[in-house]
């Protein structure tokens, strides 16, 4: 059957380039492998040339997939499943890119895209390491390409193509029996998950995936080192890449935190959600690996640890994709997951298996030739304490990943475990100890030298920063008001100790730049990153411990005394209801719900909430507005609210508000009934606050009106409502019949608490009904928090990322010179 309006050529191009990417990466992998194992330089060179050509071709194909898919989304070709599932006509331009990464195919494509870019850079920079490193890069490309092919091997579909058509995916659906299905039914897509309609979601996924993709490079170099039995040479060229990955992945994870803070209604930036954990864990092991690489380069120690930390970082990247994409986390995460089914599950497990087997087999084959330093590390040396720190990072990673993997463990062993009542505390109490020791190590470790440090040097350099840190910490501890006692005194002590250590880390590393490096910022990458890390920990501690629930509901709003009737004591009641125009006390503020406005295009409501800070006499001394917003999502049975927090940013704190419930007349049980009146055009009907004039009644049916393809007949009306206060509204109640099933479309004037409907009686007369109901009173329910010092976290992140980048440039220049 020929279908109207489809654009099939672009999809065929897409399919073709996806297969081309697959074939080219297969050739590239084999050619680079052959080049690595070749016996003569001439043979190696000719295979290498072939591998390069194939890899460039693969990169071109991957870019072509990207462009093709973008054109499909941009041009709203909803016959394609990807466009239909993930985009919508009304979507703003900048979010069209977010549509890419919402779906599984798009995120693999993004990964593959970065991998291509990184591979092209490696072709130019890897020099004598090119063949083995590119073998790994091409092999990863090959795996990523298989996720996008969607071709069948016997009965198993390998990956899923982003270029499939709706009608091929759902061949049994009724609508595809109509050749005009595209024009009639698939006129618009499902749209982008509204949580993703946030600017952070345009930028966060590409950064995270760049971090993910770049974790391949240190992995590939480590494998190359084992493969070529050259355990020293790979460290220097891999170093800038490891630092790049550490910086980018760290930035990406924190951008995700910023997104969670601004667009999720957790009331925070980090909730130890499995998705967050899964992206953080590879970063932890990678940072451990960067430190052991440094130790090895300077002292020859820690090579074996490096061969553990670096490969496992890349494996954890794939594993995190496995956890988040296959739906195994389904019951534990607030994030949305796809149930792609078994094929992806085994596909990713296979990928993990292959990339785990390569370093393990090589390591076993090379174990005798891996150099080991026989003598022991000096306790006064930098490498000793750096190693302890790396080990702690690794321990932290293991702890987090085991807890995060509980659903997978349950699946493997048939157990029923879950983290109990206090998810955050289960993580926090371990992480605070790790942070305490690590920040302390990073503070004094900088003042130790490799291989041994004299006591005099160490004390002379560290004395001043230590004194400053103690003074600053003491001040913050005593006047900072940190008295978080929900988990007992021990935890509070840990918070304070960790705060001291983190402040010490920031100050000591700052001092190091001047006292030891003499202000040479080019060499100060590590110190800058450590300053940033210390600031982040300080920001996390203060903002979490002093986070204040503003909307604490002590009274209940309408009925004081109701509270205890339901026996609530231990947990704060977090929601507060505000009635339109009525100032309500909330913490030290008086808050008023002043109004809302709807952005028609996206069905998004903006709420205007005034906060007045009162002085002792009850006069307002400072006023500000917070404007949270919410999308109204129409789904099957009614309208739902998807809330976006609003916040007022100050340098030292944020006031953070989100709407938890809003007037939703659909859901209110309403005892008032419609008062029906038979009318014709020109008639006037009264209600308690004014009157309404029926301007026009239009009746139509599908036989004489071609614009009515979806119903059999319709009666539409135009009614002007004149309120006593002089305002005027237009309403259009209507009545439709389809297959003898009538449907009434009501229309409401909320500020007048009045609802109109229209009924057509059998005899041909039209009745307009008016209902006046208090159920349309305007109110919102919200939660509000005060986050102190959150900017320290963001600022620390920026410092840390800058530190990584400075270090990367420094190391890269040293490799070139050396």
């Amino acid at each position: 059957m020929p279908y109207e309006g489809e654009h099939l050529v672009i999809g065929q191009i897409g399919h073709f380039v996806a297969l081309l990417a697959f074939a080219a990466s297969l050739v590239a992998t084999m050619a680079f492998y052959k080049s690595t194992v070749a016996r003569t330089p001439i043979e190696a060179e000719s295979w290498k040339k072939m591998g390069r050509t194939a890899f460039v071709l693969n990169a071109i194909a991957v870019f072509a997939i990207f462009i093709t898919l973008y054109l499909i989304i941009y041009n709203h070709y909803f016959e394609y499943k990807y466009a239909h599932q993930h985009s919508k006509r009304s979507l703003d331009m900048q979010y069209l890119l977010s549509c890419f990464w919402e779906g599984q195919e798009g995120s693999f494509m993004l990964w593959s895209f970065w991998n291509s870019v990184i591979g092209l850079v490696l072709l130019r920079t890897a020099k004598q390491w090119e063949a083995p490193v590119m073998t790994m890069a091409s092999l990863v490309q090959l795996f990523l390409a298989t996720f996008l092919t969607g071709i069948y091997f016997f009965d198993v579909r390998l990956g899923s193509s982003p270029f499939v058509l709706m009608r091929n995916e759902f061949p049994d659906a009724e609508i595809f029996k109509d050749p005009q299905y595209l024009i009639k039914y698939l006129r618009d897509g499902n749209g982008l998950n509204i949580l993703l309609q946030n600017y952070w979601m345009v930028i966060h996924p590409p950064i995270v995936f760049l971090g993910f993709a770049s974790s391949l490079v240190p992995f590939a170099y480590a494998v190359a080192g084992l493969w070529k039995n050259d355990h020293k040479g790979w460290i220097s060229p891999a170093m800038p890449w490891a630092l790049f990955c550490g910086g980018v992945l760290g930035l990406g994870v924190m951008m995700g935190a910023a997104w969670a803070y601004e667009s999720l209604t957790f009331g925070g930036y980090w909730a130890w959600d499995p998705v967050e954990n899964a992206s953080m864990v590879p970063w932890l092991t990678l940072v451990a690996g960067i430190h052991t690489m440094l130790i090895f380069r300077s002292t020859g120690f820690s090579l074996k640890a490096t061969y553990l930390f670096i490969p496992i970082s890349f494996l954890l990247v794939i594993y995190s994709t496995f956890l988040t994409r296959t739906g195994v986390l389904g019951d534990t995460s607030v994030h949305s997951f796809t149930g792609e089914g078994n094929s992806l599950y085994w596909h990713l497990l296979l990928m993990i298996g292959v990339f785990a087997a390569i370093p393990v087999i090589l390591y076993i084959r090379r174990r005798k030739s891996i150099p080991v330093v026989r003598n022991e590390e000096n306790m006064h040396s930098r490498e000793f304490w750096m190693f302890v720190g790396s080990l702690l990072f690794f321990v932290a990673a293991i702890y987090v990943i085991i807890l995060t993997s509980l659903p997978f463990i349950n699946k493997l062993f048939g157990t029923q475990w879950a983290i109990g009542e206090n998810v955050e505390y289960v993580y926090n109490r371990v992480m605070i100890m790790v942070a305490l020791v690590i920040t302390f190590l990073s503070a004094f470790g900088q003042f130790l030298k490799y291989k041994g440090t004299t006591r005099q040097y160490f004390i002379s350099k560290i004395a001043l920063p230590a004194i400053i840190a103690i003074v600053v910490s003491a001040i913050i501890s005593f006047v900072g008001g940190i008295d978080y006692d929900r988990h007992g005194a021990g935890f509070l002590v840990a918070i304070h100790l960790c705060l001291w250590a983190a402040i010490f880390a920031a100050i000591a590393n700052g001092a190091y730049i001047f006292s030891v490096l003499k202000g040479n910022l080019k060499a100060a990458g590590a110190a800058i990153a450590h300053v940033g890390f210390g600031m982040m920990i300080v920001g996390i501690l203060i903002s979490s411990a002093n986070k204040e629930l503003l909307s604490l509901n002590r009274t209940g709003i309408a009925m004081p005394g109701l509270k205890d009737a339901k026996g609530r004591d231990e947990n704060p009641l977090e929601n507060l209801t505000l009635i339109h125009g009525i100032p309500t006390p909330m913490g030290k503020y008086m808050v008023t719900y002043e109004g809302d406005s709807t952005e028609k295009k996206n069905n998004r409501v903006y709420f205007k909430i005034r906060f007045s800070e009162l002085d002792s006499t009850g006069n307002s001394k400072k006023d500000f507005y917070v404007q949270p917003n919410a999308f109204l999502v129409k789904s099957g049975e009614g309208t739902n609210l998807s809330s976006n927090p609003g916040s007022k940013h100050y340098i030292h704190h944020d006031v953070f508000v989100y709407i938890t419930s809003w007037l939703n007349p659909d859901n209110i049980s309403d005892t008032a009934t419609f008062r029906m009146r038979t009318v014709k055009a020109g008639d006037t009907v009264f209600y308690s606050n004014g009157f309404a004039v029926v301007n026009r009644i239009i009746s139509a049916n599908k036989y004489d009106n071609k614009d009515l393809p979806v119903v059999d007949s319709a009666w539409l009306s135009e009614v002007s409502v004149y309120a006593k206060d002089g305002r005027e509204f237009q309403v259009q109640p209507a009545y439709f019949v389809k297959d003898n099933q009538p449907t009434v479309k009501t229309d409401t004037v909320i500020s007048q608490s009045v609802i109109f409907n229209l009924i057509k009686k059998n005899s041909g007369e039209i009745q307009v009904g008016i209902k006046e109901s208090d159920a349309v009173m305007r109110y919102i329910t919200l939660k509000a928090f005060n986050f102190p010092m959150i900017n320290l976290l963001w600022l620390g992140t920026i410092f840390m990322v800058i530190g990584f980048m400075v270090s990367m440039v420094y190391r890269f220049n040293r490799t070139r010179i050396g």
Binding site: M166, N193, S336, G339, L641, T660
Partner: protein, 148 residues
């Protein structure tokens, strides 16, 4: 023994100790019946909202009180009280994970995770359902309008 090996042993011991203390906090997924047997113990219930029983939530009277009935796959039913606001898309959830404890006849819920159809956009069966309804939805433009 080298100092570093001692430290590594300590690290391993710390991980094990951490995991053991964690086991005390570990909870389990239960059915309503088994949760009743463990009254007062913190459990996770996987259940469904009973759409035939009333959902009570009136933010004007009390924005921190939601009560409803849940049924699990074995057919048991319990009243649930959640002292917080009603989650978005609550009525449209296909499956809910309730974290809390049974107290008497009532499940005191501390946290609700919803599994809504919209979260499973890529799930082919959901997709199919949606498509079949979308053709019928397109036929009934029965969306109600509001003006302010």
């Amino acid at each position: 023994m080298k100092k570093l090996q001692i430290i590594m042993l300590v690290a391993i011991a710390v991980v094990i100790a951490g995991l053991i203390t964690m086991m005390q906090d570990i909870s389990t997924y239960d059915s309503i019946a088994s949760a009743r047997n463990k009254e007062g113990k913190f459990v996770h219930l996987i259940a469904k909202l009973d759409k035939t029983s009333p959902v009570e939530y009136d933010p004007i009277k009390d924005p921190n009180y939601l009560s409803f009935y849940a049924i699990d796959s074995l057919g048991s039913k319990t009243k649930v009280v959640y002292l917080n606001s009603k989650p978005t898309e609550f009525e449209h959830s296909e499956r809910i994970v309730l974290k809390g404890k049974m107290q008497g006849e009532v499940f005191q819920c501390k946290e609700i995770l919803l599994k809504c159809p919209s979260k499973y956009k890529d799930d082919p069966t959901q997709q199919m359902k949606q498509l079949n309804t979308s053709s019928s939805e397109a036929n009934t433009p029965a969306t109600d309008e509001k003006k302010y």
